[in-house]
């Protein structure tokens, strides 16, 4: 079968084309709404600007195909092979992409809102400017979570997305919108989150070691038991953040805002918190061995049983703070 025959048969009402083989199909701007192309061999095809809503591409081979500007809303792409596919500016809203292979795919400015991407492999994919609002990328069962290793998620909209357990190590998430996203247990080691929006995000038990979070917003985010070893979060906003039991060792938080932050039992040894505003912060039982707390604002902070004996407190303002021994600091 060739592209022409496919279109002709579709025009006569046939919709089941399961397992067909058309190599380098030319289906530019084609209207194939609702067809069944499951297990089809359609690699290197041209589907640019095509209308493919509700098409079943499950287990189809679509590697190296061009889907730029195609409308794939609510399509079924479970276990589809989309390696190196060009999906620039395509629309995949509500598509089922579970276990899809999207290695090195170009998803620049794609609409992936409400997509199911559980267990999808997006390693090396370009998701710059893409919108994944409400998408599901969480770990599923005993299988591996979505793989986004090496992906480009610069300015990607992941607001409210579920990325629990996702592999985001060394991913570029700069200026990404992750507000209210769930990143519980996600691997964000070495990730670039510079200027990202993590307001209200859930990062409990996430690994952010060596991640870059400069100028990011983490207001009301939950980072309890998270690892931020060697992370760099200068001038970030951690207002009302929960960092209880978090590991901040060797991290750099210069100039950050941590007003009303909860840092109980955190390990901030050897971290640099110069000039941080920790007003009303809860640092009880925190471990601040050789932590640089110079020029910090610790007014009305609670430091009960915190280890600050070796911390650098030069120029710190402790007015009204509850000290480790339970006393209130007086100037």
């Amino acid at each position: 079968m060739d592209s022409k025959q496919l279109l002709q048969q579709y025009a006569t009402g046939k919709t089941n084309f399961q397992s067909i083989r058309i190599r380098s199909a030319d289906l530019l701007e084609a209207d194939l709404i609702g067809v069944n192309l499951a297990k089809a061999e359609l690699s290197s095809g041209n589907f640019m600007m095509a209308y493919l809503t509700r098409v079943d591409f499950s287990e189809a081979n679509l590697s190296n195909s061009r889907f730029s500007g195609a409308n794939l809303n609510q399509s079924k792409l479970v276990s589809a092979r989309l390696n190196n596919a060009d999906l620039h500016g395509s629309s995949l809203q509500g598509a089922d992409l579970r276990s899809a292979q999207l290695t090195l795919a170009n998803l620049l400015d794609a609409n992936l809102m409400d997509c199911d991407l559980r267990n999808a492999n997006l390693s090396g994919a370009n998701l710059s400017g893409a919108c994944l609002r409400g998408a599901n990328l969480r770990e599923e069962g005993s299988n591996r979570s979505s793989n986004l290793r090496g992906a480009n998620l610069h300015q990607t909209d992941l607001r409210g997305a579920n990325l629990s357990g996702a592999d985001l190590a060394r991913v570029d998430l700069s200026q990404a919108d992750l507000a209210d996203a769930t990143l519980r247990g996600a691997d964000l080691r070495g990730a670039n989150l510079r200027g990202s929006n993590l307001t209200g995000a859930i990062l409990s038990e996430a690994d952010l070691s060596e991640a870059i979070l400069d100028n990011a917003s983490l207001v009301n985010a939950r980072l309890d038991r998270a690892k931020l070893i060697g992370a760099q979060a200068n001038n970030s906003d951690f207002t009302s953040v929960t960092l209880a039991d978090a590991n901040l060792k060797h991290g750099s938080f210069i100039g950050a805002v941590m007003v009303d932050a909860k840092l109980a039992r955190c390990d901030a040894s050897r971290a640099d918190l110069t000039g941080v505003n920790l007003q009303r912060g809860i640092l009880s039982e925190g471990y601040f061995a050789r932590t640089n707390l110079s020029q910090t604002n610790l007014t009305e902070a609670i430091l009960i049983r915190a280890e600050i004996s070796s911390a650098n407190l030069n120029g710190a303002d402790l007015a009204g703070a509850t000290m480790p021994d339970g006393s209130t600091y007086r100037r």
Partner: protein
Amino acid sequence: MVPSWLLDEVAQQLESQAERRQIHQLAFAANQNRWPEDLNLLDLYRLRDLVQDLTRSYSSFEELKQALRRALSQAPESKAFIPAGRTLLKITRQAYQGDSSAAALPSEASLDGFNPSEPAAQRLSPFETRSIDADSNPFPPLPYDEISATLEQSPSATRIKKLLYAVCSGEWSNDPVMLGRFRFTNLLKQLHKMSANEEALHSALRNVVVTLNRQMEYELVAQLIQRECHQLYTPLEQLSTSQPAPDPELQSPTQAVYSTEDPFSTGPERISGSGVDPIPLGFYDDDDTPEPTGVLIPMGIDGDQGNRLQRENLTTSPSQQPLDAPPASERAPEQWDNPDYTDSSQTDSAQGNPNPVEQQAQSLDWQGLAELRVELMRYANPLRVKILLFSTLYYPFDLNSSGDWSKLQTETLGDLTLRLMEQFTSHDSLDEQLQLMACQLMPSDEYGNAAGAIARALRPFYP
């Protein structure tokens, strides 16, 4: 034998046309003496090869014209291919440089309504367009507003607007709502950008007027527009007085002689004989109610040679471009081809006084930008939105140009949206430009939808 580079050039220009699919089909039909039953078949034939075959099969321009006429007479819907035929002839004419019939000779007079001696510059390159862009020259601001005010106060203001719109968009409209979306000033800017000199302006207006059923009235309207626009051209012409004069034969508009047999004729006569169905080509004015059936091709209007000369003059003239100015190729994309573009060195913002919209665009954080993107993606195709934004900011996007695709990949939808906000200080002018550009892109209804989505999404950011 046509040199390879020239064939490349011709093919590239043809590929950049909005009606390239029709051109492709017509070139195929003229070569094969049959129309393709399956459009997929066309993809097996490169347009360049088809043009090469045409130039080999038809050794003179006149023969080529006859071949296209024959092909059109067999076309399933011949009228739909008339604009493509005009464009194909106009551009392919370059390949017949040595052929006297390709110059403005008697045979061409029968081609009134289109002029093969006009340049294939529906899309000037960004640099060429920049050289004639009124906003970019070093002269004082051009009096668009004053001219607009004069035209708006004219008793024929409605007709003036219809004519301006038709020249700029390539479509005739009697719809007052549609026309109401466009400001005189922006239409004038667009017209000025499209017309490199007064002859070109004359041709642009006249090409529309001759398709109308009220030619007398619109001839007067065209004269009025031309009279008022005279001041827009004075500085450029003064500058080029020392340069060789363009070939008058190529520059001057052809006399109107209508042929009853020429399917390309846009005169009042209808085609008869030779198996061709009567093809209505004229535009109709409001009072006559029939829907317009012709589609005009908006062009950068100028004679080939004159255009080339003028481009050389303008790009090399020290008084046009300061010696220390960066070459066009090194300028930022936003300086290329935007009628509303204002050189940053001349904007208020450069003097520390940014306009409110620009300020808002600058202060729009990722959160606001993300909301904007969601709004755009929900109601329009993201790629079409990008292509429309790109085309409005720079120049009409060419789907067949790998260079344009590369440029599109370098900017996200968010980047382009912010850039648009920075460049358009009023929502009305932004809306107009989007609508105008949407009309030039195919399929225009899809891009019209994208234009509406963009305008709606950006509305809250304008006062």
